[in-house]
Subunit: 171 residues, 6 copies
């Protein structure tokens, strides 16, 4: 059972968990074609999402999983990577963080959406036990829409887990 923690009055607004991370793509992070390794982008996504989750949970958080991720456009050496994360949904001790990754051309300033990621984090105390999360209070239309979509993704994840379990049992 999650250890006790008082939720803040009226819950936490998603905007309070908003996190922005900016980075320049450096030579050591690119392949023979000059495009950044997918795994490097994943590592950036995880750090940005973890800060957002910490800002909501105000305790240690660990990545429980990430939804499927597509790279829609390559990021090149010298490009500016801009990541923005916020908490979309929160349950008793787990939460969903959404991260939007954009590539900014340093010369033209043009911004391109390169990927969107949805990660699940679990909140833990210093002994590694689950912590009860505060309430998330979406207020704007955008925040409510994201909360709703996160709920649908959560249901899809649970269904998918069930499917995998059944398929394994059937083998």
């Amino acid at each position: 059972m999650p250890s006790d923690r008082l939720p803040r009055d009226g819950g936490v607004r998603p905007s309070e968990t908003r996190t922005e991370m900016t980075w320049i793509v450096m030579p050591g992070q690119t392949n023979a074609l000059g495009t950044v390794f997918g795994g490097q982008v994943m590592a950036w996504i995880d750090v940005c999402a973890a800060v957002s989750a910490q800002r909501f949970a105000r305790c240690t958080v660990v990545t429980a999983g990430m939804d499927s991720l597509n790279f829609r456009a390559p990021m090149r050496q010298g490009n500016i990577a801009v990541l923005r994360a916020s908490v979309n949904w929160a349950g008793h001790s787990s939460m969903e963080v959404g991260v939007r990754v954009e590539r900014e051309d340093a010369i033209t300033g043009e911004r391109t959406h390169t990927s969107s990621a949805y990660l699940t984090f679990v909140a833990l105390d210093s002994r590694g036990n689950k912590v009860r999360l505060p309430t998330l209070s979406p207020e704007t239309d955008e925040e409510i829409r994201r909360h709703h979509e996160a709920e649908m993704r959560r249901e899809a994840r649970l269904r998918h887990k069930e499917d995998v379990k059944n398929r394994r049992a059937a083998r």
Copy 2:
């Protein structure tokens, strides 16, 4: 249209793409609880899968995406991380690589399965154009089962893409 490349006679067997990566979890890669960052594991997964994809395609490969990923058990400082990858499925210019991640306790030797990942890679020539892939020839029962499951995942990915497109159009 993919540029021309002669497939090797009789295709490539999945075992020829098998890649193993072993790593020790170092202090700089862990959080306050001494467990490795999720993003670090993702970065390892991407490198291991990329080598496997290169061994199949024999050209530059870029990560197109990764299926949903769950971390079933934490990896701690001092643990040995063992990653094993091989190509499960290949189409004209894209392929699926499966990666199994295990944590090995350095003292007891106990092995724990911590995550399984499925990544899609695209093969490119030096100008960044798509390259026609050789044929994949699964032979053992295990290889045939993996190939079949990869095909089902591919269909699920295409359906999911269609769904997202329709939902966006409906908004």
Copy 3:
């Protein structure tokens, strides 16, 4: 003489150069007392400022110098480092970027101002020649105050340079 480049109509507003960088202080970046190395913070400051300068100049920028820097409070492992930069002042081919560094306690959320830095960047084209910068157009009271203070710092820098030259000549 700087090569020609058309300034954007009406100049660039400082808010268009605003850059935010968020980072978690990791174990590999701290000393025996668990506080981050000063040089690591300087490296973060330089990257954040460089992105801001690039967003103004829209070309390659190189660090010409940094004003004196004081660390007012230590940053510890697990703290969140938040850096915010924007261009304060711009001349023909050099500009001043201000960076504010804050430490955020991941558990309490408390924010502490740990240092303020002022860096000078020079804009260069691909052959390393100086590039003529667009006009900076401060509009809000805050932007105008920063612009004014940056001008005073610039004069102080020129006076300081003159002093050093004279003292050397007098030796």
Copy 4:
């Protein structure tokens, strides 16, 4: 005197200590000619050998030394580095690990043997005291040959140490 530890029944077979490490040579690890730094390869060798030694000793191991090492062929950016290690010989508390380094051309798949290294490790408990090692049980012809050659190298090392000591005494 080494602290007590029960050897596993019938000893450990060299194949149980087999460790494979695969890595892509990245841009940040190469010199002006595009070939990887010798020291980087040595660092990879040490990690791969340490994992192998840990798999045998099942405790903390520290590098005591490395035999002379020759780089027979350069490794270039984009090449795949494949390292394979296993324990060749074990005494009371020290052991020899052999590492074979191969360069794999990512495009042609051609494998080239670039170096062979022999490292000595010492097994320690958590207080830094020497630990009694299990017995090594070479079984195949190959394992027995390696064990025999390792014994000859060990004798050569002891003779060399004696020589150095005598030469120093004679000065």
Copy 5:
């Protein structure tokens, strides 16, 4: 109040704190023009100065600040960076370290002075309390000149701090 520590007899000579650091500028540390990032040089300066301060204080030291820094010439990939630091001045618990950075052309051997930095460090014991420093005993003309100039910089720093405080109060 600083905790007690016996100063060494007759004080420490600046030459005993002399520290030299040599490094090759690697591909992963340079921008699109092939010149090293300013922040990377700052990080090197801080490490070199910290070692010098430790050699004087013989306890943990933390960077309190750095005077204004100018990059007089770029450092390129393949250049050798040579940093030399020594303690110029010491008070009760803080000290000034001077660092001279030179770029050495690996092919011609030509040395160019690229920057001079003056950093202030504070000496701390293992609980983070200030430690009383030994006496610094400059002896050569050069050491005495540096000590004198450091004293003038220290006065300028105190005046500057006072100015900033007054200007803030006046707002």
Copy 6:
């Protein structure tokens, strides 16, 4: 055949190739016992030796090999690592560099010799062809002794190579 290069008049003195590198052992570079990885020390040795070889050859150098290396004492987190290298011997296109590694206790200042390494480097031009080296001119007794010992090591290396070749032929 080595390409032509004019040796400097009267040769290069070993002291002109002297290189010093100082480094603090950081948390990310140590194992569970808090001692630095052997491979990290090897990587430092290779960089320090490469700078020394470049100062002699004044062209690109690549590591051809390293003699056997023993770690006589562990280096711990917070220790200062001091490496000193100089060229001991030079032939037509290869040279031997000696490196002495010392551990300095940051608190007591005590220095301990932890290892000595002898590396062979080959000098190459920008197309990767061997370059004719300048003459090495040892002058002091110490330099002449090192030159003599390097010659003996060179002969031992050639004998060892011959032995290995014969043993392989005999199998």
